[in-house]
Point group: C2
């Protein structure tokens, strides 16, 4: 078991826990939301703003960064941290999911993935070893294994194949990580990714196989990819008692505020999602009373902040009326103010979740939040 | 003459002067560059950033604001300052220039301007009195008269007409301003706008007529509208000795760094221009060695800041390589970082010009700057 992760408190009669994850760029209290900075920038925000708002770790994406600006450009800057002026932790996704969802002409074999860039059509090759090397070169704190992420829906045969390949690739990633650490151990962590779709037997098989490889953490992949919530939650329920306790658990690509809180119930510690920034650019704000669309005529004269319960910079200084005007006028400041609020909202939500876990009041916290959020 | 403006120092053998302009929202050291915040936002920037970078006054635009979001929306917020979270000074343009350059179906008569919005085609009417009332309602610190701004080129008959009408409108603006001040004097200033195109006789006539009205300041309008520099500078040279000394002189819509410094020679105190923010969104940076286009391949690996001589936040924290990547990836942060640098560059240029005036070294300052900027 890894000493990089310590559990502070686990709630009575449940799996939700608060913890601390140590990385080369700082300690991360969990549960934690990681803002997505796909292309070496959390869209519309600056890194000092993220620090002011309490972000401790952000996510980058190896698939995108290998194409733009290219790993050579980032390496020349001394790595992703100095390239983008961010000295806290970074987790990078390997690119497996993006190849399936974005790239063209992708071909999959047991040795890796070949694809044509969605930007310029250029051919690229990702192997398990190559994905680890790429992220090692980027200097990220948490490296994700290359996985074989089946699209949803997938038949059982495809899922069995993806689990088998993900395990094999996971072993190869770990082998390469060992070699790189022997050359120069920078303390970078390596996480495996559990596949298995919505098939219970395959999920358990994937978890058990990956648990033997010695990863620093385990992620749940291949969920929140289009399946209904009543297929997603049972898988989390299945995994919760079986996830190795003393390592961080990361649910990739989740989600809405209520989904995050529900996943925390199943012992999930880490989250990332483009939702807060993407929705911000579409004029949507997360609030304690649910999502609002700022373009609505009802906000034309509103002197209220986006969320009266929020302490973020946007809510402290700007009204719905002003932000609505900016959004309708297509002003960049609209994306800035809404992104900053939405990111703060999820960072703050995880901080409050953590506090509720520590005092063993998590269930009532979730109940109160969810009822208000859903307008019940 | 107005006590709102005091001259600190005028250079020996020239017109360049440093001064201090008092407004209801703070004192403004001059010469000064006013960042343009057309739609109640300096594009891509936040107001705390503008304050950090030393902006003391920004410009808004009545023509745009009356359409989006509408004066009623801004009035409901308590005025433009509180609407946009900016507690320093604001100057608003009356909209005359925008009607000529942007609006459709504009018709001009001696009583005012009728036009169809470039946004939604809605019909609007601007009269001298209406333009003052509009800006009074916005709560801006410096109100600009409605003027009759002839397009370039214009024949002499049209220019004679525009000068005559601008004087008549100026008188009506002042009359309305007196009435509003009698109701509730908020200390707002009223500036007249000198017209006359590139016709010396008409320029002098306009200046002399407006000088009798009792404005708090005078602006030079109808220049930097497409005429060559060798027609523009002679007009400034003509006006310089004739401008009332003890009031601020504002050159509307200028310009490039060298043009600003040249205009200061002719006793100009105030400037505004969309150039720094518009060029920023097009990937251009002002530097002490001239303008650079960040997309160029030569900057792909550049670990240099935009301008090695610049102390702005962008130059302190980010490389050309990173900003180039952001620009090519169409990331919002590109517009932010470049806009912040370009605005800082002009704010700083005016601060340095002021310091050089105070020590009577203005000519050598301009010579040194211009030679380096032009790569001589």
């Amino acid at each position: 078991m890894s000493s990089i992760f310590s559990i502070e408190h686990t709630i009575t009669n449940g799996y939700a826990r608060s913890g601390l994850l140590k990385t080369p760029h700082g300690d991360i209290p969990t549960p934690v939301f990681m803002p997505v900075g796909t292309l070496a920038t959390v869209k519309a925000l600056s890194t000092p703003e993220l620090i002011d708002d309490g972000a401790t770790i952000i996510l980058g994406n190896a698939y995108h960064l290998m194409q733009r600006p290219g790993v050579d450009v980032i390496a020349r800057a001394g790595g992703l941290h100095s390239f983008m002026n961010w000295d806290r932790a970074i987790l990078t996704d390997s690119g497996g999911f993006q190849v399936y969802s974005l790239a063209q002409l992708q071909t999959l074999d047991d040795d890796g993935l070949t694809f044509a860039s969605h930007i310029d059509g250029a051919r690229h090759r990702l192997t398990p070893e190559g994905a680890v090397e790429l992220q090692y070169q980027l200097g990220t704190d948490i490296i994700m294994c290359l996985d074989d992420c089946a699209s949803y829906p997938a038949d059982q045969a495809r899922i069995i194949e993806s689990v088998k390949r993900t395990t094999q690739w996971g072993q190869r990633c770990m082998q390469r990580m060992h070699e790189l650490r022997a050359l120069d151990n920078r303390g970078q962590l390596l996480f495996g990714i559990i596949q298995g779709g919505v098939y219970p037997h395959e999920r358990i098989a994937s978890l058990e196989q990956l648990s033997e490889i010695g990863f620093d953490g385990l992620a749940v992949g291949g969920l929140s990819v289009g399946e209904p919530l009543d297929e997603m939650y049972p898988i989390l329920e299945l995994l919760a008692p079986r996830l190795p306790n003393m390592m961080p658990h990361y649910f990739m690509g989740l989600g809405t505020p209520v989904e995050l809180l529900e996943a925390v119930r199943y012992g999930i510690d880490m989250f990332d999602c483009v939702l807060p920034t993407r929705n911000a650019r579409n004029g949507q704000a997360l609030t304690s009373s649910g999502v609002i669309s700022i373009k609505q005529a009802q906000y034309k004269y509103s002197q209220e902040p986006l969320d009266a319960e929020c302490d973020c910079d946007t809510c402290t200084h700007y009204t719905r009326s002003y932000i609505r005007h900016l959004y309708l006028s297509n002003e960049i400041l609209s994306a800035r103010l809404l992104s900053r609020h939405n990111i703060f909202f999820l960072l703050s939500l995880m901080r409050r979740a953590r506090a509720a876990i520590c005092t063993d009041e998590y269930d009532s916290f979730v109940k109160t939040f969810t009822e208000k959020y859903r307008g019940n």
